[in-house]
């Protein structure tokens, strides 16, 4: 993620240690994928209590664009910045494959350059990626246009094939697939253009070039 933001999109990007405070002059926050605390208890729940998350919440409440990918998405739901939960895949296996996303909301800071229903070839790689919400919450997500991405096929029994959602305000977006693994032609056997639009949308939102 760092490499993609820095080298591909030429953004001024910094790492922050999870016990640090965040500076006030940020334009956006990205919680990358990977693993935190070995998924102990549940993926993302322990990292959701890291000191830096208090700052992420404060900035998210003020409208800052926040993107969580994979474990970053799990941390966003476990810190209650986003509704729902990510359960173990039905297969109980780690899943690593290519799939396709459909853009369902093109009003977020990370999707505003997409056409509605545009398709994005993208890899997914997770063990706990099955998105779940109860019926009432699903109805609320639909009503508030909080479903950002759906899978183009049923990959893991996620409720309503949801792959990514946003908060009510739309500035906090979480997604299980990995856009940062899809934006370079060298490692994308299909089409690296659509996934790039996630980051190009962010650049349009914040106007930030190095």
């Amino acid at each position: 993620m760092y490499h993609v933001l820095l080298d591909v999109f030429k953004l001024d990007v910094k790492y922050f240690w999870h016990e640090d405070k965040l500076p006030k002059d940020l334009d956006a926050i990205v919680l990358p994928g990977g693993f935190s605390y070995g998924d102990r208890l549940r993926a993302g729940v322990i990292a959701a209590h890291s000191p830096i998350i208090a700052d992420v919440k404060r900035m998210a409440d003020k409208g800052m664009p926040v993107l969580g990918v994979c474990n970053g998405f799990q941390i966003l739901v476990e810190s209650e910045l986003l509704p729902g939960v990510l359960l173990k895949n039905t297969s109980l296996n780690f899943m690593c494959r290519w799939t396709e996303l459909i853009v369902e909301n093109n009003k977020t800071p990370f999707t505003n350059k997409f056409a509605l229903k545009e398709r994005i070839p993208i890899p997914i790689a997770n063990g706990e990626g099955r998105y779940y919400v109860d019926k009432a919450t699903l109805a609320m997500l639909k009503k508030n246009n909080q479903i950002v991405f759906r899978y183009g096929e049923s990959v893991n029994n996620s409720v309503f094939d949801i792959a990514g959602i946003c908060n009510k305000e739309g500035n906090v977006v979480g997604m299980m697939p990995h856009p940062e693994r899809a934006v370079e032609a060298e490692i994308n056997p299909r089409d690296s253009k659509p996934a790039s639009v996630i980051f190009e949308s962010l650049i349009t939102t914040v106007g930030a070039r190095k």
Binding site: L41, R42, P83, G84, V85, L87, L92, D134
Partner: protein, 82 residues
């Protein structure tokens, strides 16, 4: 010192692939056809030093809610004090 057991499991109606696999691929293949359902769960044992059982249970309940030891969207949680 008391021990509070916390059992965390998926709510009824939410699939439990681990329980289903144990049932279908182990128990039923072992010819125990009388078994109809298996649900898996996670159990945490808290050893806690409080003056009485009631406070022990209440403290563990409070911390489980506050620290999201279980996810209220999907989990059912049972507390037992010994």
């Amino acid at each position: 010192m008391f021990e509070v057991q916390v059992i965390i499991e998926n709510k009824p109606g939410i699939s439990d692939p681990e329980g289903a696999t144990i049932l279908n691929d182990l128990v039923l293949k072992g010819s125990y056809s009388s078994v109809k359902k298996i649900r898996s769960a996670k159990m945490l044992r808290f050893q806690i030093s409080t003056t009485n059982k009631k406070t022990a249970e209440e403290t563990v309940q409070k911390l489980c809610n506050e620290l999201r030891i279980y996810n209220p969207m999907v989990s059912k949680v049972t507390f037992t004090v010994n």
